[in-house]
Amino acid sequence: MSTTIFEKSSQGRRGYNISKNDVNIELKDVLPANLVRKEDAKLPQSSELDVMRHYIELSSKNHFIEKGFYPLGSCTMKYNPKINEVVARQSGIANLHPLQPEETVQGALQIMHELQNDLAEISGMANVTLQPVAGAQGEFVGLKIISAYHQAKGNHHKKVIIMPDSAHGTNPASCSLAGFDVKELKSNSQGKVDVEELRKMVDENTAGFMLTNPNTLGLFENKIEEIAEIIHAVDGLMYMDGANFNALLGIVQPGKIGFDVMHYNLHKTFSTPHGGGGPGSGAVGVVEHLTKFLPVPMISKNDNGYFLDYSHEKTSIGKVHTYYGNFGINVRAYVYIKMLGAEGIRSVGENAVINANYLQAKLKDYYNISHADQYCMHEFVADGTIQKKKYGVSTLDIAKRLLDKGYHAPTIYFPLIISEAIMIEPTETESKQTLDKFISAMIEIAHEIETDPESLHHAPFNTPVRRVDDVRAVKQLNVRFPIEK
């Protein structure tokens, strides 16, 4: 393990080079003594070379897309095109202030306006806000819109959001934050919404239904029309968690199949980088009659050009971000969509689905796949139940062994309704060769489990560190380096 930047610090060393202060005012004349900090913040003292070496060394300990495949279910770890980065890092994008007069940011506003429209077109929604900065914040905004819709009608009793038990953890958490109660619907034997159970659960208190489609098992919810009818019959709204939107690109428009609100994960479906956990972007689209509730400002256009539109402020849910969301990230998604065009977008959806089905077909003889009798969409959920039962090797062990073979692990132990879940999403950007190698690695592991199950418990062996003890990380909490002086 690398020493920390703090241990490399040396008194008096410096890594900055800023101009000398050329105004003739002393600090003591402008900051009264009682407001002066008593003790310095003990930041490290390093040269620029120290800092570069340190963080380059750290970077070498990461798995990342250009190094290897991420079969990470629900996360859509597709390739992040480099042109997106080059464009977004231009000064005319990166160095704009949010309160510049509108006439000085017409280009930025045009990009946002076109992106709003393109996302609306791709999803069949009427209007889109780019303000939410993450999928979870998108969920929050979508739920606030649902709440505003019911409040506007005086239906204050509509407090319940129903969702399947296979939902992402953010769904219930976002409901809590937005002031809704959650009812969980047990999935049927096919891993889908149990329409009859849903019918029983719905009542006048139902505010809406939150559904990921394709669902977290990678299966298209084909009863969607009936589901939407049941929800709409009690004046509930249909929310689509767009985490899996990649599967539908150019094939199905959520706005045309009964959904009223959805969020997009631009860092999944539209190729903006994950950044090691953020910043992402969680735009939200709505059907026409919900447009008036979208956050302010929207980006609109009139004869004078593009502008920040606050005209619906009275009905809007308000703001969820200090300014207009993650503009720098949205630019990347804009470039991506422009480069794909309609055919490219469709091709993403098709190839994502083909790649996933190819992996499912090739792996089903080696790992249990509960729903392998159905074609999946962009992902599928295998599991390690056989390996666990017969050889005592867990899904965690399998995941860790994959790291040894140069792959990131799939999403594991999710969805919660499949035990020992191994959720695999290849994305459209991976080639057949990559998939074939990954299949071989998975088969190799299946064989290793049969011949030497014990060793799997200790994987990985070839990674920068060995298996990390996260229980100790909780029990002996150490979240701050103790800097002595």
Binding site: N21, T322, Y375
Partner: protein, 446 residues
């Protein structure tokens, strides 16, 4: 097709292996009427060359702050960013990596977050900092929710001198949850301590005060602390500027319980207002009620030091409805920029940035008031790098005219309800020559 590796021949092979003759069979499960018949109505695909040209032309119509002289602030600031910062954050090893759930192949990300947490603790004087929130505004909202959770009281007092955008976001995050927000009046550009005194009582969960506040003025955090902690359970939430922390009282000195703020000033571009990042720090005893990601040091199987995400039992993927927040990310790459920035500036550099910002701001303020018709809106207050002036003509006109001289004169306070007032932010990037030129332009335009 761009970014798709599969050739037509491979596609056919794969379909054959799957056991279907066409893609259509794979989606036969989707009701026919829902499958798109027509192509999406999008612009024809651009080549890489074409999109570069298009966006370059668009950005050329933008007039960026680097090509001008900008005095815009209001929560996001134009501090100097050393070149090494961008070199590090542009590495795909960092920017295309996923959230570090698989610790064994994410030590790079985990360690820099651990270092970031440590640096934020140093700046704020607090014991524990999370891996960051979306922005300062959502960090403020989450701090209030945390105070409500840990005190089981449902009322928050908030200084009305906070950034109005923070106020909007706080309202969004707290409405519908049975939480009462009460605002403390302002007097002369700072919170009215007497009004705070009148409003604090044992029913409050917290008092949130921003210092330097929205107008740039430094609040009396010591008096606020006293009043807050005189209540039974009330927590003191300080919202602050990370650069100001280098030279002004650390929140530990005035015994804040939770410290939050907008972190953009630490090595991040303004990006037309996003991405930003919120820092969030508190006392160790409150770690378990804290929102957001957290990285801890631990050991690997061989007994070597390693890092991993920790205290995940607070989070949405485990607690679901009962999670401390719905957040499932941090602004990781923004915090990487901040970490590298703080490592480069170090103990002395960050003080230098802060000192130059405050002294240059004061030079400009002092000289502006010498111009007929201009005066400080709050002359009795101590400010940091931003201040408000009353203007002899509408601020809008000044802004418009200064723009002809390639200067962004500041924020028109009319949008926040103050006529004939201009808010001006000054960072270490300004030279005396810049400031003198700005002064000359101000003289000319009125």
């Amino acid at each position: 097709m761009p970014y798709i590796s599969t050739t037509e021949q491979e596609r056919q092979e794969m379909l054959r292996e799957i056991g279907v003759s066409s893609f259509k069979e794979l989606i036969a499960n989707i009701p026919e009427k829902f499958v798109m018949k027509d192509k999406l109505n999008l612009e024809p695909a651009f080549s890489e060359q074409q999109i570069s040209r298009k966006v370059f032309q668009l950005t050329n119509t933008n007039k960026c702050t680097q090509a001008s002289d900008s005095y815009l602030g209001a929560g996001v600031y134009d501090h100097f960013i050393p070149a090494a910062v961008d070199t590090i954050v542009s590495r795909p090893e960092f920017y295309t990596a996923y959230t570090p759930y698989q610790a064994e192949v994410s030590q790079g990300t985990l360690q820099f977050i651990y270092e970031y947490q440590t640096m934020i603790c140093e700046l704020t004087g607090m014991e524990i900092a999370n891996a960051s929130m979306y922005d300062g505004a959502s960090a403020a909202a989450e701090a209030i929710l945390m105070a409500i959770r840990s005190t089981r009281k449902n009322k928050a007092l908030i200084a009305s001198t906070i950034n109005p955008n923070f106020k909007n976001v706080i309202e969004r995050y707290t409405e519908g949850l049975g939480i009462e927000l009460e605002f403390i009046n302002s007097v002369n550009g700072v919170m009215d301590i007497k009004d705070l005194e009148a409003k604090v009582n044992d029913d409050i969960a917290c008092v949130l005060v921003q210092s330097p506040n929205f107008f740039g003025n430094i609040e009396d955090m010591f008096a606020t602390e006293k009043l807050t902690h005189q209540t039974k359970k009330g927590l003191f939430i300080a919202s602050t500027d990370p650069i100001a922390l280098a030279i002004t009282n650390s929140p530990a000195e005035y015994n804040a319980d939770i410290v939050i703020g907008e972190g953009q000033a630490l090595g991040n571009n303004i990006n037309y207002g996003g991405p930003l990042f919120g820092f969030f720090a508190t006392k160790l005893a409150m770690a378990r009620t804290m929102p957001g990601r957290l990285v801890g040091e631990t050991l690997d199987e061989a007994g070597n030091k390693a890092y991993s995400l920790t205290l995940q039992a607070r989070e949405q993927h485990i607690r679901r409805v009962k999670a401390t927040s719905n957040i499932c990310s941090n602004q990781s790459l923004c915090t990487l920029a901040a970490t590298v920035y703080m490592a480069l500036m170090g103990r002395e550099g960050i003080k230098e940035v802060a000192t130059q910002s405050i002294t240059k701001a004061h030079y400009l303020a002092q000289e502006i008031t010498k111009i007929e018709g201009f005066e400080l809106a709050y002359p009795q207050q101590t400010f940091f790098k931003e201040f408000v002036v009353k203007t002899p003509i509408p601020a809008e006109e000044i802004i418009e005219k200064a723009l002809n001289h390639n200067i962004y004169a500041g924020v028109d306070m009319k949008i926040f309800g103050y006529d004939n007032q201009l808010m001006i932010a000054v960072t270490e990037k300004k030279t005396k020559a810049d400031l003198d030129r700005f002064l000359a332009v101000l003289k000319e335009v009125i």
